[in-house]
């Protein structure tokens, strides 16, 4: 870990080797598409058709213990929201409740652009919410979550590694707009919006969802600004 100016840098993604994504979707067509999108983006993919199977693969299922089933560490989970049996939301909750796997970023996909649903998922700790149909630009963006450096303030590693409601609440009170937020949402509706990504403020009556399909990741915070934000908590 490198320490620069009092800020501890921690790399959460893989430095060598490929990123391994667990994709969960009950639709075979969507599984094929997401698999291909991920493979083309140089990710290893395991695609399963239900939340239960996803938990089994992770080894979280109480019924079956998957000894030796999963030798590959999962770096990201991307799941459909609407699934029979266990929904993507329920899967998200189970993952975030588990001490072993709560650090794994979870991305939700849904064909419905429902704000309440999006908010609920983000509050539960989802990394991002993608409105279907999923595009290459969406996959490129979420790949960034796994491979870029995460800045963590001193002594606050445990709180800050958990994205979702904590980070969103903090950002509420700042005008800081240049951070790489988890709440950039992609929507097929707003196709003409600018490609410069800006975070969506989680206010009660949110404005239109901003489309951030540009693969270039948003500029990282300067260490000083990040230090300021941590000190005012």
């Amino acid at each position: 870990m490198a320490r620069i100016g009092g800020v501890t840098w921690r790399r959460t993604g893989k430095i060598d080797g490929e990123v391994h994504v667990l994709a969960v979707d009950d639709s075979l067509v969507d599984r094929k598409v997401i698999e291909r999108l991920l493979r083309i983006s140089s990710c290893k993919v395991t695609a399963v058709d239900s939340g239960i199977r996803a938990l089994q693969f992770l080894g979280l299922d109480e019924e079956k213990s998957s000894n030796g089933f999963n030798d590959l560490k999962v770096d990201l989970i991307i799941t459909d929201y609407c699934m029979p049996g266990m929904t993507g939301y329920e899967l998200l909750k189970k993952v975030k409740e588990s001490s072993a796997f709560r650090e794994i970023p979870v991305v939700i996909m849904s064909s419905e652009n429902v704000l309440a649903r999006i908010d609920r998922c983000l509050e539960e700790g989802a990394e991002d919410f993608i409105v279907k149909p999923v595009k290459l630009s969406d996959v490129k963006r979420i790949k960034d979550y796994m491979t870029r450096d995460f800045r963590v303030g001193e002594g606050e590693e445990k709180e800050r590694t958990r994205k979702g409601i904590n980070k969103r609440k903090q950002r509420d009170s700042f005008d800081d707009l240049s951070s790489s937020p988890p709440s950039i949402l992609s929507s097929p509706i707003s196709s003409s919006s600018s490609s410069s990504p800006s975070p969506q403020s989680p206010s009660p009556s949110p404005p239109s969802i901003i489309s951030a399909s540009a693969p270039s990741s948003p500029p990282l915070d300067s260490p000083t600004r990040r230090l300021k934000t941590t000190s005012s908590e």
């Binding site: 067509v29 969507d30 094929k32 279907k132 290459l136």
Partner: protein, 178 residues
């Protein structure tokens, strides 16, 4: 035809197509024009949207048939879903719109994933009719859905055939040298 000794191009591939090699270029051009014309038509008519183009971009040498494979999976599922919708609607003991809603959502989802815009819109109309509890409206919507589906299936099969011919033509012009 006279070929230099160090070239491995032979007359055999040309014989497969029945055309001399020098003509293959014209065939390839024509096929490409046909594919583009068909795609343009499907886009202009609102039958396909940019998600289809996105899928096309996912093809490469290792997966040249990616789009046709996914679309064929979609067609296979669609036919089942359409049959289920019809039998649910025609059932004398009509059990309500819940089950139809599930099938419809599935259909909508995979149509959207392959860029079948018109079909997705037809599904919305079906859903609206079911929300109004209009069985007649649902029947009409279903007929439209079936019609749009047949049309799309024919056109996409045509497109895939052209793409296959292009692959064959390219293979004949530049045969693999093992």
């Amino acid at each position: 035809m006279n070929f230099a000794k160090n070239r491995t191009v032979s007359t055999v591939p040309a014989a497969k197509t029945g055309l001399p090699v020098w003509m293959m270029g014209l065939v390839a051009d024509r096929l490409r024009a046909d594919a583009n014309r068909l795609l343009a038509f499907l886009f202009n008519q609102g039958i396909l949207d940019e998600q289809f183009l996105q899928l096309q971009q996912l093809r490469d040498e290792s997966s040249p048939n990616f789009v046709s494979e996914v679309v064929n999976i979609h067609f296979h599922e669609s036919e089942k879903l359409l049959r289920n919708l019809r039998s649910l609607l025609m059932d004398r003991e009509f059990s309500g719109y819940n089950k139809m809603g599930i099938h419809l959502n599935q259909f909508m989802g995979s149509s959207s994933s392959i860029g079948a815009k018109r079909i997705r819109n037809a599904c919305f109309a079906f859903r609206a009719a079911s929300e109004q509890n209009s069985r007649a409206g649902c029947l009409r919507a279903l007929e439209l859905l079936e019609h749009d589906y047949c049309f799309l299936k024919n056109k996409l099969h045509e497109l895939f055939q052209i793409q296959q011919q292009r692959v064959l033509a390219a293979g004949a012009r530049y045969p693999m040298q093992n």
